[in-house]
Chain length 361, copies 2
């Protein structure tokens, strides 16, 4: 099966270890095992037996996941090794060669290139920066003149961090209903107080994980929420790829989700501190602008000038240790993915070095 | 992508929880977290930070994996979430629609149905029970009259537990060299003292995991060993599915592999005790026979009579709580997968109940 390189992930793999000021990490700073286990009131982690565990996911963890949503039961949930794998399983289960898929750009490359690898045709609709990175209803209506099997969004979006507006979501669901189109929404950056497409539409599928907002990428734990028959089909496919997520990850995920308020509060503090630093910096930086999200770990910074984003990012890394993912990795020039997860001093220093660079070049 | 149900895995999922005497579990009894951590001499588990970790796998764990082989370096290894996922990644990376694949039956269903789902054509060569479940060189020569992209074996084989003989392996590699055919060998049941195809052939790929012989299915930790350029391609594809196996599993896998002699000795004791019980039982059970493996957790028991294997397995489970995977799940009637992992008293009781059943029906 042919797949091109995943630009943003390869960039991270190739360069992230050289970062001194990492201004592009999508995750709230990770907990240690000790910090996570300090939340384990039941204290049963040491007694977990490391067999395959519950094949379709520990019931306790499914029940905690359900609390992030307004609808569904334990048969509406299956577990995956990260949100990415959840997305992969959904796409593999739903798509056949020739199927039409709609997704959005700038966006996460897997949502265009993986459907193509499965033999689908993909329409990528623009998100308009001038309209706060919103899509256009008329673009969607035009694209859906052909029969569409699946719409894939990332809500909030990576790299912009911006949520799709409610009017668009409502109209998208209306159009999807007419055709029986599925909607997969990667909600890995979602604030559980915000709507999920899986609660709004009977062919809506939500994926999520503990990696970004819950500071626990190292658990490699994610999930899929969707209608029973789809979840059943995915559970059957899981036999070919993972069998189970296993009792180690399931148990630690359960502990984390039992304590989600603490983890989300921690995330909010980190994001808010970064927001303020970025806003202050922008007041004196006319060469840059950004649509700042309310509650997300990523944003997509625009800069003025002719320097290609990869060159800018590499220069900054090599000269100053400041690390960004360039817009080119999202096929969108003159932008850098700017995260809201850094230590405040690191963020201030990194932005200051970015300013110096932009004004020297 | 269309995939049929995975018969053996679905059977396990549907019925394993009802087992009182489980005589078909492929894993040496699992360790608890506490038992595993008791081997952690460095004691650094609590300090592991739960970020994505080393994207292509922790170097320390790769170096421990290499000790299971005769050749290769850290670039010859990548990590996966179980052996199954390693196999999936290899098949997805190598196969294109129209490619010819050879595998063996009875065998693991993924090795015929997953290549078919990827658009390949598959020839399944028989393993001959009368010849101790060995394949035939002439069958292979005949099948390779067409150009073959990939040969997939499971060595030792699931469900028979038997290794492919050295003469066959040697001839298979000769034939593969002539055509540039890749050989994927799922060696999840391998004794590291035995040869690995990845040490014998430059297009040989070995997959393995800690699930079966190392008692740690709950870590969901496996690996792929192969030539550098293939491992590099797989690492690029991993960005679409898992990103990393994560520092939690990597660290615990490192602890396990540092202590592999203890774990393998434990496995040997369990298997040897089960072998002796089975051999004693067979002396007085003319209705059954089995080719017992030297060192593997599974075998494929033959029984006389007309009862379909699914009916037999369901009857035994419902009436007596004795659990087998029926041969029908491997598309091979009059057989049951009999594991060598049970508690001795459970094994004795289960076999006795099987005898009673066979003589009453």
């Amino acid at each position: 099966m042919k797949l091109p390189k995943f630009e943003v992930e390869q960039w991270m793999t190739d360069y992230e270890n050289d970062a001194v000021c990492n201004l592009t990490d999508t995750c709230i700073p990770a907990l240690t095992v000790k910090e996570l286990l300090a939340m384990d009131e039941a204290g049963d982690f040491q007694n977990v037996r490391l067999d395959y565990g519950a094949i379709t996911g520990d019931l306790r963890v499914k029940e905690e996941i359900l609390k992030l949503y307004q609808s569904g039961d334990s048969d509406s949930i299956t577990t995956s090794q990260g949100c990415l794998q959840g997305n992969e399983m959904v796409m593999e289960t739903l798509l056949e060669p020739g199927d039409h898929v709609i997704t959005f750009k700038p966006g996460y490359q897997a949502f265009s290139d993986y459907p193509r690898a499965l033999g689908g045709t993909v329409t990528e609709l623009p998100l308009y920066e001038d309209d706060n990175w919103q899509p256009s209803v008329s673009d969607l209506e035009e694209a859906m003149k052909q029969k569409t099997k699946l719409i894939i969004l990332n809500d909030p979006n990576n790299p912009t961090g911006i949520r799709f507006n409610d009017a668009f979501i409502t109209r998208m669901i209306e159009l999807a209903k007419e055709q029986g189109t599925w909607i997969l929404s990667d909600e890995v950056y979602r604030d559980p107080a915000c709507p999920s497409v899986s609660d709004l539409y009977d062919r809506g599928i939500s994926t999520g994980s503990l990696s970004k907002m819950y500071s626990l990428a190292g658990l490699r734990f994610g999930w899929i929420k969707g209608p029973h028959d789809l979840i059943q089909k995915i559970n059957e496919r899981r036999d070919y790829s993972i069998i189970s997520t296993g009792p180690l990850a399931d148990t630690l995920a359960y502990i984390a989700l039992k304590n989600k308020e603490r983890l989300l509060e921690r995330a909010e503090n980190v994001i808010q501190a970064n927001r303020e630093i970025i806003q202050d910096w922008l007041k004196n930086e006319p060469a840059c602008s950004v649509v700042l999200p309310e509650f997300c770990t990523v944003s997509f910074l625009k800069y003025e000038g002719d320097i290609p984003s990869k060159q800018l990012a590499l220069d900054l890394l090599k000269k100053h240790g400041v690390f960004f993912v360039p817009g080119a990795c999202f096929f969108h020039e003159n932008h850098l993915r700017l995260s809201l997860t850094a230590d405040p001093e690191v963020m201030k220093q990194g932005l200051s070095l970015l300013s110096s660079y932009l004004h020297q070049n």
